[in-house]
Symmetry: C2
DNA sequence: CGGTATTAGTTTGTACACTAATTATTATGA
DNA sequence: TCATAATAATTAGTGTACAAACTAATACCG
């Protein structure tokens, strides 16, 4: 295996760049989301529910690419914040219907300012961000066929 | 604010794509790192130390873009695994010198197979991955001037 | 020189991400 | 019909990432 190029520099690793980029961008959201009492993962859950509700836990977990084990306490905290309600489904008592409260629905209007503020903070063109986003979904898909 | 474009679709968010891409790629490492008894963050620490040792905690934290609060228990566990040693610096007793053990140094040889295996799993060209990596560092830098 | 500010690393607390196990409900097939 | 397999969501356990607080050592400046 002497012909394996030495690719062990930390900054050579795409996984390292992905991890740092993810964390760095998410850290920009923190001060913006804090006044709404939301963490970034909670914000993503809200985005999913603003898009469509009511939803099953399993359905949300799939859309958010999370394990239900992660989502369960996350939803619990959102419910405790009064943004989300969870009710046992009547047709299938194993399932929960997760929906927004009125408060949760109204929050969408305020949340509309968030993406432009982040884009502003980054100072990158929409083109560039769009290209990045596409290549990210490219690698996500590649990782699922691996 | 009626002229703010509605950018609240979950999949429109670069941050979501970043989070999922990061997690997805990192999940590919898990079965590969498991036989070495390493988690992905621990692997990154090892990469940093293989690059240069001994190191201060603060120095490692900066290179890994981690908080010392995160790195401290992480190093503790690596020390417990026998891969890393931590000694109080003699010139400045506040500081630790973090170095590899012989076992830790030897692990580098086995680790050389890891990046090619991941690249193989992803089935993406080196060109494409390199372009991605560059744009990721681009956004990392942008987030730090924000 | 010595009191105070700063620094290095750790601990505590909270949230999250994954794996494994658990409980209750529903689907399946003999 | 009924025992068993599968499913939905939760809980428990481990590791990690960040923020705040803490302890001990060093730097600084009057």
């Amino acid at each position: 295996m002497t012909d394996i190029p030495d690719l062990l520099g930390l900054e050579d690793q795409v996984c390292f760049a992905l991890a740092i980029a993810s964390r760095s961008v998410i850290s920009l959201y923190r001060p913006i989301l804090e006044p709404y009492g939301l963490t970034h993962p909670q914000y993503l859950v809200m985005l999913a529910l603003w898009g469509r509700e009511p939803r099953r836990v399993k359905d949300l977990a799939e859309e958010l690419r999370l394990e239900p084990a992660t989502l369960s306490p996350l939803l619990k905290r959102l419910e405790a914040s009064g943004l989300v309600a969870r009710h046992r489904n009547e047709q299938d008592e194993r399932a929960l219907d997760v929906s927004l409260t009125d408060t949760g629905r109204r929050l969408r209007d305020e949340a509309r300012t968030i993406p432009p503020r982040i884009i502003d903070k980054l100072g990158m063109s929409l083109d560039e961000l769009e290209r990045l986003r596409h290549s990210l979904w490219r690698v996500i898909e590649a990782s699922h066929t691996a």
